[in-house]
Subunit: 365 residues, 2 copies
DNA sequence: TCGGTGTCTGTTAGCGCAAACATACAGAAA
DNA sequence: TTTCTGTATGTTTGCGCTAACAGACACCGA
């Protein structure tokens, strides 16, 4: 009333009336609670709760009465209250760096496949490869008291690690196994993957090898692949002949550009190793455009094994990162531990082995 | 004591001792609560709560004491309890059909950009284009009592619509404006987009036009584009010369296959309209492989304007679907209404206008 | 001196639900 | 008959937090 009067001092008295009548028809309904359903069906709240959760014995007659009332009212249980009362929150926090590069959506698919069979539900948080954001996202997630955390990578800020340890819930670090885990790990060794590819390239007879990738201060997995790669080359007395890094933009286009740059700058290059398939595909398209003989004049390889590659004019050599398997295995660990008697199991470590797919861009011998 | 005694009657007395000592070293810590912080800092729970939420007046000295204690203990507030007590849940449910096709991640980016400036947080649910799953995901989401819902498309089951209406929270349907909205809408008219492309193609002089797309009983937006497309052609007395649909698999590869199929079956085709850029790109690669003169012998066009296209040998003609703008606008509506005095605003309707990007695969005149 | 006016801190109650513990009652067993 | 089952329902309590209100205290001017 008081506020209204205030406004009325101005010029819009009539208009206001309009607006008010305009609002009145709105339902303005207080959100439904168990009590509403209980009253509508003539049983206690507890019985309604039992029916809706399918727990405990309830006679068929009551069950039907309750379900009918719930449906008629359009009641949706309040999980906030339920979770607080039962001390169980069936959420799994999934923290990943990005959704836009094809790899994490596939991990998510694997996770969902497994969790769909359980009462657990994934909730995604995206960090954009920034440790600061990771910390914030993690904090937000943990404040919902999830049943478990699946988080990409082994590198986290001290604060993040502390939170994960203190949370007292299963934590699965995924994608990477090169490093020390907080709890469980599922992934591949990127260092080993880099080495493996290096060996395959050398074995195929290439010697003037260029590397093209992301600027990777924060992409630890790409860095580890690079390290493993150069290390294995060094063991055979080979050094990277040239390298080129990019940031942002369309990966396919960047792959093209970088390839052009490198082949111009170092014309005797005979192999291009790309840190992901997208830029690899760009490079491949560039080479084909220019009439470069792939794989004889120049060989190419990428990383990830993304589905996209199937549609390219040639099959790019790559290495499957086992994305959906990783998702499935991680989800499985969380699901198992969530059911376990408490403090059960622990520190699982699953290292998957990526396989080279030779495709058409790596000479066979 | 009593229970112990019970078990002791059996044979495992000594083992039990072992097990107990085995468990004892485990932290077995009860999750931290406000009370723990309150005791550690010597103030009331309420004061701790005020400090952690930056609300109300607290002296600098107490504030520091509390923050120190909270950090030292590693306390993370329990949002479940907070939300229940305050009746405010700063979550926005975002319900989309898929994450793996480049379009929704970009919408998500737009949403996040806007929500990052607010206390709101997006939570994603994926339906895989299945109405049944949409219903389930929606129910799950609503049971967390979010502050708003952003949901793709205008077609929902009756149950879903009922839930959305009954929820009493802002609902923004995104991507599509061809149909009746529950509350607010942000999107483009796909029917109009189809018509626009048809007109452009006809104007460029093409007449034997093929359509390639997804099997679309459930992809309503693709269907609407198709309808608009054929309708505009019909107006000029042109009929679709051939059509081909796919399901699943690598879109790029499918684009290739379908293009081959169609050009073989109907060799006099002079234009291929693809329902998305990915299959369009596959078609383009196929044509270039076969030495087909693009755009003179055959013209091509896709839909979406995905970044990927930048790296192709030719620029595929396409139409930008305004994905991140849609995300931003939708999030803005939710954010504004979440702050509004209640029942404020409503039924916003934002129709964006996609622009044709002619690229290199549509003759210019 | 007395309130008055802030500033800071504490107390009480309850959000909506589920765990744990009653209670009621029918039928079976003794 | 009584007692013992078990099934079906209800009651009480509290999850961890915040809104709303209620002190306590210092400081000001009259």
């Amino acid at each position: 009333m008081d506020k209204r009067r205030f406004n009325a001092n101005k010029e819009e008295a009539e208009q206001k009336v309009e607006r008010v009548t305009d609002k009145t028809p709105a339902p303005a309904r207080r959100p439904l609670t168990l009590r509403d359903v209980s009253e509508a069906s003539g049983v206690s709240e507890m019985t309604v709760s039992r029916v809706l959760r399918n727990r405990g014995d309830v006679s068929e007659a009551t069950r039907e009465k309750v379900l009918e009332a719930a449906k008629r009212l359009g009641y949706v249980p309040n999980k906030i209250a339920g979770a607080l009362a039962s001390q169980r929150v069936n959420l799994v926090a999934v923290i990943i760096p990005s959704l836009s590069n094809m790899v994490f959506p596939e991990v998510m698919t694997g996770i969902s496949e497994v969790l769909d069979e359980t009462p657990l539900q994934p909730v995604v948080g995206v960090t954009n490869y920034k440790p600061g954001r990771e910390e914030k996202v993690l904090y937000e997630m943990l404040s919902w008291r999830p049943s478990g955390v699946i988080i990409a990578g082994l590198e986290h800020s001290d604060a993040s690690k502390a939170m994960l340890k203190a949370a007292g819930i299963p934590v699965v670090e995924i994608m990477d196994t090169d490093g020390e885990a907080i709890d469980a790990v599922v992934g591949i060794s990127h260092r080993r993957a880099g080495r493996k590819m290096a060996k395959a390239i050398l074995k195929a007879g290439y010697r003037r090898i260029g590397f093209l990738g992301t600027k990777m201060p924060l992409d630890h997995r790409a860095r580890k692949r690079f390290e493993g790669f150069t290390e294995a080359l060094a063991k055979e007395g080979v050094e990277i002949a040239d390298q080129e890094f990019y940031e942002g933009g369309s990966a396919l286009a960047k792959g093209r550009e970088m390839t052009e740059t490198m082949l111009t700058r170092t014309p005797d290059i005979d192999f291009l190793y790309y840190s992901n398939d997208m830029i690899g595909a760009g490079g491949l398209l560039y080479c084909l455009d220019k009439g470069i003989d792939v794989p004889n004049q120049v060989g190419l390889a990428g990383f990830n094994g993304v589905e996209l590659l199937d549609g390219l004019p040639r099959q790019l050599a790559t290495m499957d990162a086992c994305r959906s398997e990783i998702g499935r295995a991680a989800a499985q660990i969380i699901a198992t531990r969530a059911e376990a008697p408490e403090g059960e199991g622990g520190k699982e470590r699953i290292e998957l082995t990526p396989k080279i797919e030779t495709g058409d861009t790596l000479k066979r011998r």
